[in-house]
């Protein structure tokens, strides 16, 4: 039976124990694809563990832009048993599995990192299919599914290779097994070895010796597979296409940090937490900033604090000197910051919190994904104070949005919570190179000088919270001559001194809170919400969502469009103050409103009810800690279109 070849479109998955090189193999693969001119979307899944637990990396490749993963696996790359047990059954018909011949007799009980629940599930599956509870059983199962098996005897190859290069430290060489597995997959896919070589060099560019060793190992393994297997038998194939110089391969844990550098953020505080620390660590590694005029070297000071309370309060302290200041955290840390956010609110201090959401509550699933913090972010802190909550939909947006949120913070003199999440942070994708000059820097009413009393110009007796500049007063940096002011967490006068006067209180509350009205008016529509596509008048179906579900939704509705079903998608970006009238307009002609969110409650749905007095017709939610695939969304939408779907669909895919 010959099948048509599928060129440059597949899902490739590599798995292995944490610390065994899964990520670098996936990074090499991703880099190679992008160097070959292909588009990728990759995502990392891992346990809250340092070494030993199962992690895997999914890379979807295409010759068109893609923004999400799908449920199926076309090529599973493994060098341990657990990967096979956990993913072997998900490989499609005609797909392939690369595995280690030496592991076939490993029983599932011999893999200690397979937890009870997974053990039960896999065991049941194999038993039901009458397979043995071994790797071989799983391979048989896969074979029954129509999966092609590629056994690679890593140990034997390593031994041969070690002899060939005359390096007998097998334990060192063992560390190249990830790259061997990867290059085996390259061989199966008939991929260009020069690109592979270049990619390895790039990933190991800081360690040329290691690069060299890995290249040699890669080639050895590549050639072995080429010689053993007929790669033309495999349905999937990757080939080089025209590369474009304005495409970058970007990791989601660096894009917002890069935006910070461009935005002029010069002070970041943090307390380590997954998945937010990467943001700070990137800044720390790039603390010296090349600037114009040429030769000028600016810098960002990054401080690791004793906790998140110190992180936010120190950032606010920095912001008072006129420095664009930020902190990056995740749920547990954010919970500790709310009191200080109220202080920034009442004192009208611009500060940015990058909130990398992960699955909660409490410690939750610290390395897994969720969008569970929306209502908390909007309502955080006791009392009422203005804040902006802004959500980015993908890696590319997160760069530009980061510059925008600093502008918002300074223009409206308030804290901004920039919502990101584990799905963005731990994904990697090809996108257009960032244009760092696209968005101007707007510092709002920041005065660098105060003309002293008696002179003309700005009021002599400077008032930090002047009413008649309502609602936004001029701000100065601590240390500015003639600009002395006071701040207090108490309600204050125009100078910033404590007062309990009831009338002043009303005026100050009005001043502060009305900044949100101004923001609502001034913030451009595209920063509030974006509508994609249109819906068929007959069905009138519109999806509303926010944050990192964007990619999967876009990919799913593209697929629906191909099938002649048009669904509109409204991505809300400004979460607070809620862009009610814009979204209302975008929802005109909507008969069926579908809310898609990575949480239990459907939190955006609540906001829509609260602000638009409009019901959600269907909720598609997911809260198992694994991000949504476009397949799942596609299926759920089809279900709804079928008319038989319940009002709330819970997605459950993901390992």
């Amino acid at each position: 039976m010959t099948q048509s070849k599928i060129s440059n479109s597949l899902t490739w998955v590599i798995g292995g124990a944490q610390g065994s090189g899964v990520d670098s193999a996936a990074n090499i693969f991703s880099k190679a694809c992008s160097q070959a001119g292909l588009y990728i979307f990759g995502k990392r899944e891992y346990y809250s563990n340092i070494k030993g637990e199962h992690s895997y990396f999914t890379v979807r490749v295409s010759d068109k832009q893609i923004r999400s993963h799908v449920d199926d696996i076309n090529l599973l790359v493994s060098f341990d048993a657990e990967t096979l047990f956990r993913h072997g059954d998900k490989v499609t018909k005609g797909g392939g599995i690369i595995y280690d011949q030496d592991l076939v007799n490993t029983t599932i009980q011999e893999v200690p990192t397979i937890d009870d629940q997974a053990l039960k599930k896999i065991t049941n599956m194999l038993k039901k299919a009458n397979k043995s509870l071994t790797v071989q059983g799983m391979l048989d199962y896969a074979k029954d599914n129509g999966t092609i098996l590629y056994n690679v005897p890593y140990f034997q190859l390593l031994r041969e290779f070690s002899e060939k290069i005359n390096d007998h430290s097998l334990s060192k060489l063992t560390r190249t097994v990830n790259v061997m597995a990867l290059s085996a997959s390259m061989a199966v896919l008939d991929f260009d070895t020069t690109v592979l070589t270049r990619a390895i060099k790039h990933i190991f560019r800081a360690k040329p010796k290691i690069a060299e060793l890995n290249i040699a190992a890669a080639n050895y393994s590549y050639n072995y597979v080429k010689s053993r297997f007929n790669s033309t038998e495999f349905r999937f194939k990757l080939t080089k296409v025209q590369t474009s110089s304005d495409i970058i391969l970007m990791q989601g844990n660096q894009s917002s940090a890069m935006g910070k550098i461009s935005a002029g953020c010069r002070f970041q505080t943090y307390y380590p937490i997954t998945p937010a620390s990467d943001d700070s660590e990137f800044l720390e590694s790039n603390q010296i900033i090349e600037s114009t005029p040429d030769g000028k070297k600016d810098s960002i000071v990054v401080v690791q604090t004793e906790d998140e309370i110190a992180a936010i309060t120190m950032a606010i302290g920095g912001a008072l000197t006129g420095v664009r200041s930020a902190t990056a955290t995740s749920g547990p840390g954010f919970s500790l910051m709310t009191e200080a956010l109220g202080w920034a609110g009442i004192n009208e201090v611009p500060v940015v919190v990058s909130l990398y959401q992960r699955a909660g509550p409490s410690t939750g699933l610290p390395t897994r994904h969720e969008q569970g913090d929306l209502m908390f972010a909007i309502n955080c802190g006791h009392g009422e104070f203005p804040k902006i909550v802004f959500a980015s939909g993908d890696i590319e947006e997160s760069f530009y949005d980061t510059i925008k949120v600093f502008n918002f913070a300074e223009k409206y003199q308030l804290p901004v919570i920039h919502m990101l999440d584990k799905a963005i942070a731990n994904s990697i994708m090809t996108c257009r190179v960032f244009d760092q000059y696209k968005i101007n820097i707007d510092r709002g009413r920041l005065l660098e000088n105060i003309i002293p009393a008696g002179d003309t110009g700005v009021a002599g007796n400077y008032l930090r919270f002047k009413f008649d500049e309502n609602p936004i007063s001029s701000r100065v940096r601590l240390g500015t001559e003639n600009g002395i002011f006071w701040n207090t967490g108490d309600e204050h006068t125009e100078e910033g001194h404590i007062t309990e006067d009831p009338d002043n209180r009303i005026k100050m509350m009005n001043k502060r809170m009305s900044k949100l009205d101004l923001a609502s008016k001034e913030i451009p529509a595209e920063d509030k919400a974006i509508a994609y596509g249109h819906n068929d008048p007959s069905s009138g179906m519109t999806i509303v969502s926010w944050g990192s579900t964007k990619g999967a939704i876009l990919d799913a509705i593209d697929q629906l469009t191909v099938e002649g079903k048009n669904v509109k998608f409204v991505q809300v970006r400004l979460m607070h103050p809620f862009p009610s009238s814009l979204v209302e307009k975008m929802l005109e002609n909507t008969k069926v409103l579908v809310d898609i969110e990575m949480n239990y409650t459907g939190q955006l749905g609540l906001l829509i009810k609260q602000n638009l007095n409009r019901n959600i017709n269907y909720k598609i939610v997911k809260y198992n800690g694994r991000s949504m695939s476009s397949s799942e969304i596609y299926n759920a939408l089809m279900y709804i279109i079928s008319g038989n779907a319940p009002r709330r669909i819970v997605l459950e895919h993901g390992a």
Partner: protein, 322 residues
């Protein structure tokens, strides 16, 4: 034109209780700044929450009255971003050693060049006299219905262990001495801590002015009434680490003295060590031009409001064709 003491005062009504020790500390700070002729706009007083937390409102420099327990991180953030500021942090003993104890320890580890003054009245003044961390175990002030359940913490020893590099103690009714201490603390390169004994006549009827004055304290030798406080410098005590190797011995003697309490309470400089690099120095180790263009002095955008930062190198590395 020389700045006068009055220039450092605001017209804000001061609502501390009559006879509160806080007044003396406020005066001492204002006197120190005025004697040092610190330009008004260069200084920022940060404070925590409590009676003591109101201090900045009475001083005519920048004044940032922060959150309960968080004065140190706020203040450090400002100083790190603009090392040219003269930063003083002040607050209560509950503020600094109760809810803020964690920041106290961590600030010691950083050694940012600034001053921290604790108004030590052994009670939570503004919340009506609950026991503060400096109140001794078993003490029952008039504000408590039952004796204190907790051991007290020794602020001097704690500061020492935390890594503060200047540690002194003043008394709010010895304004002159306190003022000198504050000046030295400001001049010190590194994080300076001052524990200031501050009677709270309203709630603490144990550590009163009269008690510190020793009205009930008699010299066992000659039976004479004697003040409880004495000055370290007058006993020949020298807390200054002149050579790095002396640090450990000087710390030892400081701890020893810090345990004195009751009939003899030392005031003055317990310890000073300028051989520990400040946090600013440490940043310079990472960012050589930090002191010339610290964060607060960087132009982040040009006349066209375009960013001055250049991402070219970072982005080039990520290009698909790289």
């Amino acid at each position: 034109m020389a700045l006068k003491l009055a220039d450092y005062k605001t017209t804000v009504h001061n609502d501390w209780c009559p006879g509160c020790g806080d007044f003396g500390i406020l005066n001492a700070i204002q006197m120190a700044l005025s004697e040092m002729q610190t330009p008004l706009h260069r200084a920022t007083i940060f404070s925590g929450i409590g009676c003591s937390g109101k201090t900045p409102h009475f001083i005519h420099t920048y004044g940032i009255h922060t959150l309960h327990g968080r004065v140190l991180p706020f203040a450090q953030g400002a100083k790190i971003c603009n090392p040219d500021l003269e930063v003083l942090a002040v607050g209560g003993d509950g503020d600094g050693l109760g809810i803020g104890a964690g920041h106290f320890i961590s600030s010691g580890r950083r050694n940012v060049d600034m001053v921290y003054i604790i108004f030590n009245n052994a009670v939570y003044g503004l919340t009506k006299g609950q026991a503060a961390p400096t109140l001794k175990l078993g003490m029952k002030t008039k504000s408590l219905t039952q004796p204190n359940m907790n051991n007290s913490v020794n602020p001097i020893a704690l500061a020492l262990v935390a890594g503060f590099t200047f540690i002194g103690r003043g008394y709010s009714y010895d304004v002159r001495h306190l003022k000198e201490l504050i000046k030295k603390a400001i001049e010190h390169k590194g994080l300076a801590f001052l524990d200031v004994l501050q009677p709270c006549p309203t709630y603490n009827d144990i550590n009163t002015k009269e008690w510190y004055q020793g009205l009930d304290n008699f010299n066992p030798e000659n039976g004479k009434q004697m003040p409880r406080t004495y000055k370290l410098e007058e006993t020949g005590y020298d807390g200054i680490v002149r050579q790095p190797y002396e640090a450990s011995t000087k710390m030892g003697q400081a701890i020893e003295r810090s345990n004195e309490w009751g009939s003899k309470i030392p005031l003055g400089i317990f310890y000073q060590n300028e051989h520990i690099p400040t946090y600013q120095d440490r940043i310079v180790g990472r960012i050589p031009n930090y002191l010339e263009i610290p964060p607060a002095k960087q132009d982040i955008s040009d006349q066209n409001n375009k960013p001055t930062a250049k991402l070219d190198k970072l982005l080039d590395d990520l290009r698909a064709d790289k």
